[in-house]
Assembly symmetry: C2
Homo-oligomer: 241 residues x 2
């Protein structure tokens, strides 16, 4: 019988690739998404499609409110910064950081791991090409895993241990794109934008769009999703080589 | 200016005492409660009253669903066990354990700590007189605190560190009751039952009622809340000495 894996699935390119990697490793997939008050609701549609495409045994969408907690451009009226260059992105944690989001998401995954049961949690964080969020770093993932085994029945009573897999953590965006394509991810079904237009059209100017576009450019592949023209220069996309 | 503290407040006797301790230490109080699908909704009424009584600056109730995750008698149709004795309670983790609940609650507290900002989170867990939940142990709290400082802007950018205070962790129930009374907790405004009757009347038979009643008995104080007579023996309460 296949081992069960819980995969945190936002509907973005990283979590989609993490899903494909878990599938290829032979896990039975349990996808976990969140409606937490994010501006990009189109990503949840993508998550649903991806879960179906990869034949996830179950896809759970947890509803919860992070709006009252505030503090992030992704869940409040704080504007999402546009057209920041790499130097700007490397200067500290940006306003798009959602406080403790990955900790909360992983905690729900941990709860589900207890009940399925499953010992394997996949998360598509990557640190090299990220916006500099603290909860995307390898030391955070290792520390969460340690805590998870002290927090739960599995870690306390069982012989096995909870493992948090972060297969993309040391990859650059263009490597993630290549890996995803190799593993069958249809990137037209993914959404990465922090602040999309109606219909899920990507803004092209937020950090996430900038990093995604750069990743596709570096990979020499055309990004198949729709972008608004507002921030997009002719150079943002690249012809397939 | 008083430092801000986030206090996880279920409305039970432990979290109420933790609230009173934080108040006495001079913190400005930010109470945090959850509607997560628990059978005992009366406890949220208690939490509201307690937050008002202790003049909390803000009381946030996060709505989220843990029902789909299941696996606990507190959030599903699994019956709450009644009239277990101490020997039974000491045998492993019971079905009333809600998977990763304290991890999830602390994660939300951490998110709020980032935005307030606050460096101090209070949680009323205690291990000596508990139902044997893994996420009530000192090693879990210490590990969460370590993880929290790697997960957040505060722990990464600031000079200060997140501190998770668990002032009751080594106390027995009767000590908590005495401490609470000293600090002004009105225990008639608290609710501990896992499976209350309408109006919040405690069942008197679940582990939580059994531990609470024993605590009051050991403290030589009459528990001021209402109990159903079904499971209550004449010895369960004790006259004030």
């Amino acid at each position: 019988m296949a081992r069960k894996a819980i995969v945190l699935l936002s509907g973005g390119m990283d979590s989609s690739t993490a899903l494909a990697i878990a599938a290829q490793k032979g896990f039975e997939l349990y996808a976990l998404s969140f409606y937490y008050g994010q501006k990009n609701l189109f990503e949840l549609k993508c998550a649903k499609r991806l879960a179906r495409q990869f034949a996830a045994k179950k896809h759970l969408i947890i509803h919860m409110s992070m709006k009252e907690i505030g503090g992030s451009a992704l869940t409040s009226s704080i504007p999402v910064p546009k057209k920041r260059d790499e130097a700007e992105m490397s200067m500290g944690i940006p306003v798009t950081y959602v406080p403790a989001r990955n900790t909360i998401f992983l905690s729900f995954a941990l709860a589900w791991a207890e009940t399925l049961p499953s010992r394997d949690i996949f998360i598509g964080v990557n640190y090299l090409d990220s916006s500099g969020y603290p909860d995307c770093r390898p030391e955070f993932i290792a520390s969460f895993e340690k805590m998870a085994n002290l927090a739960t029945r599995i870690g306390t009573e069982g012989k096995e241990r909870i493992k948090v897999h972060a297969p993309l953590i040391e990859m650059k965006k263009n490597e993630i794109i290549r890996k995803g394509i190799q593993r069958g991810v249809d990137f037209s079904m993914t959404s990465s934008c922090y602040d999309p237009l109606p219909g899920g059209v990507a803004c092209g100017g937020c950090d996430s769009c900038v990093l995604r576009l750069k990743g596709f450019r570096d990979a020499g592949i055309i990004d198949p999703i729709k972008y608004s023209r507002k921030y997009l220069s002719k150079l943002s996309r690249c012809k397939q080589s």
